[in-house]
Symmetry: C2
Subunit: 449 residues, 2 copies
């Protein structure tokens, strides 16, 4: 039995390691165009920030360890074609340009995602930095060290994590975000608070341009000039492109593997594609949102790991299902924790739900505790069924704790009324005697009548 | 309509305030033997520790504010009898010793709990300190300031919170605990770790005597000598009695109000006792454990607040149910967070469940983050149904976050298999890509087969 896995960051590495453990006699190979396998891409902003010094700490399991366990790792090998009828892949050696055909019994596509590079970007410029691979991260840090002013295009999770790191390194930052506020994956009543916090807690180093995009970038030997659609012109030293990612699906699609409406590879709960013996998992695969029961594409390391585990079990002849995701996510900007689970109100409205919501601010601990901070929590429910649809929380206190608490409820379709009954732990250093989550549910219950 | 509430700390204060808001025309009275109403008893250990300086910060709502809102507060008035057939209470003025009869239309008993004082204690001694009322807390802090060596009898939540405060104030402490380890409300495989942590993180100031009790206390003018059952003899400067509490039910019981097997007042989900127009809530009332569906008595401020709310709604003519508790609790000892929800394994076994459990230690954040700490998590399930029965977590990291996440699952009888599917938030500063909770569930699933 020969199992080939294309891609080796999170889902691929997980699938490979677990498959080899389940089927010690199988031949397991990872093919990747990357220089590294099994690393924490999510950790790169913290390496760039200088929270730790050695990028090797991001490597979870070095290639040599895979080899020792019997998993063969082929780095700098780009898979250019899948030939399902021959059960072969075509591989290009990125150093020698040699082409090779490799047979498989089972194939796992874990090609991940890649940055969307807008048209106005000169892809050959040395001043433009994406952030996806470990090599990107190492280069970005070097670039940052040389720059005084950095422009970030995009205002999503990674952009905000990078702003934190740049400010920590005393760099001036201009962030350009197409939406009204940064973090457009949150409702505006939350993201406006996040943006305010960022601007107030950046020692004057950060400027955010909203409702605008880059029109033109002019680079000469000594400087880079950016012109926005609305006519702002400024000079910068480097540009970070963080304006979204897309699933890497070309070889899958060329091979006749069905993509979903989201553009990612369609898989069932066993991570099987429409073609026998070909699986997909991680950032290249479509997921089901368990709250709305609709296909979505949300690329996240935690999901990739879970899918890799499920994929390995099925590849190895077992049976395991991956039920889906809930849109749970968390990030921090300095002391502010920002988290969400389920659907935002705008997502729920877009899907046709009639929503009720509440947004409240309350202390995260007893008011007399010296370390007390505020949390702002938004709770969204379906007016008809009273089911909780989602939660968003931000705060310098333990905001993410409340969001994770809600996420388990989403799994079983908990109602607002039921949430009130949850017995949350209480002691003065940990919450108020009636936790903000319970308070929010009580108010939402009154609203629902 | 005249509503009388006996007791005004948490449940009583909450009932009074909310009833007055719902029925502005009603006469609402609080009678309490205490000097204060509406204070955070749970906060006293932190006041004693010196985390904040003014005990007045513990008062949530002063009596004057209640009066302003139309709730009449009668402090130092001990209710000595309930006369249900006359719908009257008998009240003794603790300053004048005058007796007075007061009529009610609806009566709420929120008399709380009181420390169990063992027989070997001389109740008139000036060196013996219980911790229940705000006056107790103020006295205990003064006592601590004068003492060099403090003995704590009992090793429950409050005892451990006090040890933290005493160590912070550089006092020597000897704690005597009847069980094998402190915190006997946890399973031994967890409480042994807590005890180790306390001993290792107390700068040599703390001694814990286990499996032993006090036999004799000899006090003379200059010193206190303690002899334990097993023959240890030592000198101390003051004694804190923290060997448990019991519900205050004498007047209820005398009036024919039914007590449960736990010794606390039996109430239905609307906080009604067996006698019409008499309600009970807070620490004096029995609760239902929603996991085992059995009556329990677990006195906690968070529960008291919830019950007060439900009681007020029903007293005011509305309809609201309090479904019960889950045994959720949290405390800290310095940097160690200690939390539980649901049933411990020993509780589950005692109730006749056939349990499976797992205990694992994992990092709370990505390993490369500078602030990473370990968590130890125990997950208990029912072998037959695979339902999660409970969780216990300790750690210098965010242990309580994982326990609260489980608590919502308990509400709906989540299984081990379902818990694996929960989408928990992930980013390197907040968790590992596969959170310890998911790892524990995966291992437990394998165990269950």
């Amino acid at each position: 039995m020969k199992i080939i896995i294309i891609g080796g960051v999170a889902a691929g590495a997980k699938t490979a390691a677990k498959t080899k453990r389940s089927l010690p006699d199988a031949e397991v190979h990872i093919y990747t165009k990357d220089n590294y396998v099994s690393y924490s891409a999510c950790g790169m902003p913290y390496y760039i920030a200088g929270d730790f010094q050695d990028w090797k700490q991001l490597i979870i399991r070095p290639a040599e360890e895979f080899e020792k366990s019997g998993v063969h790792v082929h780095t700098r090998k780009l898979v250019t074609k899948i030939l399902p009828s021959d059960k072969k892949i075509m591989v290009k050696n990125l150093d020698t340009e040699d082409i090779q055909f490799v047979e498989y019994d089972k194939l796992v596509i874990a090609t991940g995602a890649e940055p969307v590079i807008p048209d106005y970007i000169n892809k050959n410029s040395h001043n433009i930095y994406p952030l996806r691979t470990l090599d990107n991260g190492i280069a970005l840090k070097k670039g940052m060290n040389r720059a005084n002013h950095i422009t970030i295009i995009g205002g999503g999770y990674i952009a905000i994590e990078l702003v934190e790191g740049f400010v920590k390194n005393n760099k001036k930052v201009t962030l350009i975000e197409r939406s009204q506020f940064v973090l457009s994956m949150l409702d505006e009543d939350i993201s406006t608070l996040v943006q305010d916090y960022i601007l107030e807690n950046s020692e004057g180093l950060v400027k955010i341009i909203n409702n605008d995009t880059v029109k033109e970038i002019n680079e000469d030997n000594s400087s880079i000039n950016i012109t926005t659609e609305k006519g702002e012109i400024f000079q910068t030293d480097m540009i970070v492109v963080a304006s979204g990612v897309k699933p890497v699906v070309d070889i899958a699609s060329d091979a006749g593997i069905t993509l979903g409406n989201t553009g990612a590879i369609k898989v069932n709960s066993r991570m099987e594609t429409n073609i026998k013996d070909i699986y997909a998992c991680g950032d290249c695969a479509e997921k089901i949102n368990m709250v709305s029961n609709t296909p979505v594409w949300v690329p996240l390391g935690s999901t990739a790991n879970k899918e890799g585990r499920v994929c390995a079990i099925n590849v190895s002849g077992g049976v395991e299902d991956f039920e889906g995701i809930m849109g749970s996510a968390v990030l921090r900007y300095r002391d502010l924790n920002i988290s969400r689970t389920g659907l935002t109100e705008k997502e729920a409205l877009k899907l046709g739900y009639d929503t009720a919501s509440v947004i409240i601010t309350k202390r995260d601990k007893a008011g007399y505790m010296p370390e007390v901070k505020n949390i702002t929590l938004k709770l969204v429910a379906d007016k008809r069924t009273h089911r909780i649809m989602g939660a968003q929380a931000i705060g310098c206190g333990d905001a993410d704790k409340r969001v994770n608490t809600v996420s388990v409820g989403l799994l079983r379709g908990i109602t607002v009324e039921e949430l009130i009954d949850v017995d949350l732990t209480y002691a003065p250093p940990f919450s108020t005697s009636i936790d903000i989550l319970i308070s929010a549910a009580q108010i939402l219950k009154s609203k629902l009548g």
